[in-house]
Amino acid sequence: MVEFHSPAAWEIGHKGRKLTAMKVAVCVKQIPDPADPGALDEATKCLKRDTKLILDESDSYGVEMALQLVDAAGGGEVVLISMAPNSEVNGLRTALAMGADQAILVSDDALAGSDALGTAKVLAAAIQRAEPDLVLAATESSDGYTGTVPEQIAEIMGLPSVTFAKSIVAADGSVNVQRQTEAGYDDVTCPLPCLVSVTAGVVEPRYPSFKGIMAAKSKPVDEVTIADLGIDAGSVGWAGAGQEIVAVEEAPAREAGEIIEDDGEAYQRIVSFLDELKVI
């Protein structure tokens, strides 16, 4: 297992540190283009990842939020954290081009087939290296969408957290977050260091400028293996998963319906249809 600083040590490290310089770590997943139809590898039952990976759009909101928070704090640093196969940096370069300062990439063959908990263990250890004031992630990724990784990271690191943030304001060593609820939203106050997961649409992610794209090429990407992070291969990857995929089946398709071209009268068919269904 990874040795983490105890929460107490975190507090001492951050005590008295005013938010004049804020260090934000942003988890960014690099995924196959969602526009390409996905496929499972027959042998491993894992999503195929043989194409170039891109920045998950869900994470572009976290990157933008981090850049805005650092701006508002009057300075600081945005560090990207990613776990991806084959030393993939394509998605990281996009986020660096948006303005992030540097990245830590964990790439290791032993991580193939990791479940969400294994992923969280690895990301937590990588985040620990950066010693951020705040950790941001998306509420769920576009490809795996278990939506459990951020909260798992927070628990592993012994941090408080707020998920489903609609807005974040940092002040006086804490963050004030509007958290989405079933009925509306809650105002939540949470002391730093902490983790916040953001929903899509919270901010408008900026497009990388030409200057940004050029600058991104020389920004530091620190690539590490799980051995560098002190993680035992048995606790992550497929070996650590504790679950077994027993079958992949085609779901029954819906029967084809009645399709008609509107000739100006199609609305009448909707009326009679609703009538048959006794909706009206």
Partner: protein, 321 residues
């Protein structure tokens, strides 16, 4: 028939427990004789309702006093398990708080979470069914660890069922000291005003998408919804564009709806949208593109312009009074 004790995370909603809670209780009852509701609140307040839906007892923390449910409930569950409680499975709804509880608990137990589950069966071990690629395929995952199985269940996967049971016995569940992880507090709760039936409970849902062209045209959806006693819904495209609040969103990252009738106007039918509404009994789609994937699931499809069809439909309905 029994797989051992099953815990079901109960969540409060307006006027009692949330529908997802009763849905999960029904499934738990099919799999086990010993179903326990776990609640981050006052157990007495829900004892009758969960008892009537199959829970024999309630483990309740009492009022959380502004603490977030994730660390508090996960902490309390883990402490009870360390103290000897041995649930075979823990069913948690895919809700805002449910995912937090599942994530925190999985770390405390060092056990995986099996997510997005729409069916659960006992096949010499619990096997969960998870739809992928917008529901085109189902993945069945067997839980192989000797730890309690943590399952995140999608709303509307099971039919709630009253069992006629009496009030469940209430037992105290203690929240241990959470250290730093328990320091986030809710200072205020805002409820967005909404009229008419709730999106995930309505018998009829009328949803609009980017094909409406502009924000003002969403009025067409609202008028039709009010005419049909339906709840208005939306695709993510127009939620992200700020036309309607997030609470209107149907789909993978929004609400799952299973109404008797779902009307989709100007929605293409992306897999992430389909996941949220494919289970509707009857689907009516209006889209000007005959190739739009939404027609693949429609019982009645109109290839036409929403700006023509919807006003005509509203007029015809108004004429009927």
């Amino acid at each position: 028939m029994s797989v051992g004790t099953i815990w079901v995370l109960a969540e409060a909603a307006e006027g009692g427990v949330a529908s997802i809670t009763n849905e999960m209780l029904a499934k738990a009852r099919q799999l086990s004789d010993d179903v326990v509701a776990v609640f981050g609140g006052d157990g007495a307040a829900i004892a009758e309702q969960v008892g009537a839906h199959g829970a024999g007892s309630v483990l309740a923390t009492g009022d959380l006093g502004g603490a977030l449910p994730g660390p508090s409930i996960a902490g309390a569950m883990a402490a009870a398990i360390a103290g000897g409680a041995a649930p075979a499975a823990i069913l948690i709804g895919t809700t805002y708080s449910g995912r937090d509880v599942a994530g925190r608990l999985s770390v405390k137990l060092d056990a995986p979470v099996i997510t997005n589950i729409v069916d659960l069966a006992d096949e010499g071990g619990l096997v969960g069914t998870e739809p992928i690629f917008g529901g085109a395929s189902n993945v069945k995952t067997k839980f192989t660890s000797d730890k309690p199985g943590i399952f995140l269940i999608r709303p509307k996967s099971f039919e709630a069922e009253a069992t006629g049971g009496g009030a469940a016995a209430v037992n105290a569940l203690e929240v241990p000291d959470l250290g730093a992880t328990g320091t986030a507090v809710v200072t205020n709760s805002f409820v967005e005003a909404s009229e008419g039936p709730k999106l995930d409970e309505a018998a009829v849902v009328v949803s609009g998408g980017r094909g409406l062209g502009e924000s003002d045209k969403y009025e067409l959806i609202e008028s039709l919804a009010s005419k049909l006693g339906a709840a208005p819904g939306a695709s993510r495209a127009i939620v992200d564009a700020g036309w309607v609040p997030y609470s209107y969103q149907v789909g993978q990252t929004g609400k799952v709806v299973k109404p008797d009738v779902y009307i989709a106007a100007g929605i293409s039918g992306a897999t992430q949208h389909l996941v949220g509404m494919k289970g509707s009994k009857t689907i009516i789609a209006i889209n000007k593109d005959a190739e739009a994937p939404i027609f693949g699931v429609a019982d009645l499809g109109i290839v036409g312009d929403v700006h023509k069809v919807l006003p005509q439909l509203l007029e015809a309905l108004a004429a009927r009074g």
